[in-house]
């Protein structure tokens, strides 16, 4: 468990040193979500209808931009070898890395999303559901993204390839994430969607790190 904390702290401290990476993700999210009201026009009913989908897709794409930095630099500078040779199980340490990554991408996006939601005319209750759906869904995105990032580690054109791998896997998260807000808006309540997102999270927390660790070992074999 000590190694878990060490990796987590180290990655968080590292992203404090490279603030640009974190800010890029956030800036991308802000820009994309601000473009839509400008492009679609001031039809408040339309904006309100498309808001959940747009905010979710923008968050998903912003998170995707940040996946390459999950393992790339560790792979290039040899830290990944060290992590693989630690006495701690590699999947536990992968979970630490994903947690650190989520704090700097998914969590900040989830906290920022309600602010962007205001532009689309969503109000209090819906903003809360939006935030909750992102809080539950974005860790799943990070976990799946880690699998793809590890599978494409050291491969040429890794960015596009990992996007092709993860986007289909993101579909269920997107459907239930955006669906939660739409359902809450229609008066049905988003609880069931949120519960399903929670279930996805519970499944991916133990499984995704195992798959990621296996893929990292393969990448290290061929290093």
């Amino acid at each position: 468990m000590r190694a878990f904390g060490a990796v987590l702290l180290r990655d968080l401290r590292l992203s404090m040193r490279r603030k640009g990476d974190v800010l890029n993700t956030l800036a991308f999210f802000i820009m994309v979500t601000s473009m839509f009201p400008l492009g679609v026009g001031a039809d408040s009913q339309l904006l309100r209808t498309i808001a959940p989908g747009i905010l979710w897709v923008a968050a998903l794409l912003a998170a995707m931009l940040s996946f390459p930095r999950l393992f790339d630099s560790d792979f290039a500078d040899g830290t990944l070898e060290q992590i693989a040779l630690s006495g701690e199980s590699l999947s536990i340490l992968v979970l630490a890395k994903v947690t650190a990554h989520w704090i700097t991408s998914g969590l900040t996006l989830a906290l920022l999303a309600p602010l962007m939601g205001i532009q689309f005319g969503l109000e209090g209750n819906l903003l809360a559901v939006l935030c909750a759906s992102l809080l539950l869904g974005s860790p799943v995105l990070s976990l799946i993204g880690a699998v793809a990032a590890s599978l494409t580690l050291g491969v040429r054109g890794a960015g596009v390839l990992s996007a092709l791998i993860v986007l289909p896997l993101f579909v269920p998260v997107l459907i239930f994430g955006a669906g939660a807000v739409t359902a809450a808006d229609s008066g049905l309540g988003g609880d069931s969607h949120l519960l399903l997102l929670g279930a996805m999270l519970l499944v991916s927390v133990p499984l995704a790190p195992l798959a990621t660790a296996a893929a990292l070992r393969i990448a290290l074999e061929h290093a």
Partner: protein, 197 residues
């Protein structure tokens, strides 16, 4: 790359792996520490396959590869504190400063390592040898790369001292080490090379 290689490492042994470029020195070291699986054969630690006793094996192993394992944005102190915590070694600031001082890089221990020269970075990486001195097995891939003559002598001293204290060292180098030949065993991989089709 190579085959029919039967090797047993004893406590107190200092083994230098030799061979032409591309014969598989690095691959052998990576196989020994479990980063790479051999296509045939097995690596045993105290009689058990390393995959079975992975945790115990890794707690007894220190591997320093070609790559530095240093984060450019961190200072030498932060790097060593971080890597020791990941390895599971207990160190405090005094230990780290002492190790950096031994290797002659204490004066630049607080600036990001990206500002250091190749040789200085190598010295910072090798400070791990002092911090993890109680780990019996050291596997070092070209530890003398980028080091100046004095640092090479210093590191050679560390290696012989580790072997004298009952540790085991496996290393590669293309320099002719000035270690007493009586203490040094050689493994010439060229003799085990298989021709690649």
């Amino acid at each position: 790359m190579f085959s029919a290689l039967d090797l047993a490492l004893e406590a107190g042994q200092l083994l230098r792996v030799m061979g032409a470029n591309g014969v598989g020195k690095t691959s052998l070291l990576r196989i020994l520490c479990g980063l790479r699986a051999p296509s045939q054969g097995a690596v045993l630690w105290s009689g058990s396959p390393i995959a079975k006793v992975r945790e115990d094996f890794h707690q007894n192993l220190l591997y320093v590869g070609h790559l530095s394992g240093l984060k450019d944005d961190f200072s030498a102190i932060e790097n060593l504190a971080g890597s020791s915590a990941i390895d599971g070694t207990d160190v405090d600031l005094a230990n780290i400063l002492q190790a950096l001082d031994m290797l002659g890089v204490e004066h630049c221990s607080r600036i990001p390592v990206r500002h250091l020269s190749q040789g200085q970075k190598r010295r910072v990486t090798l400070a791990r040898l002092l911090l993890a001195a109680e780990r019996p097995l050291w596997i070092l891939d070209e530890p003398f790369n980028a080091l100046d003559v004095r640092a090479v002598a210093l590191v050679e001293g560390l290696l012989t001292a580790h072997a004298a204290a009952g540790g085991t060292v496996v290393f590669t180098t293309h320099l002719e080490p000035s270690i007493d030949p009586i203490e040094l065993t050689h493994l010439d991989l060229d003799r085990f090379a298989t021709t690649v089709q």
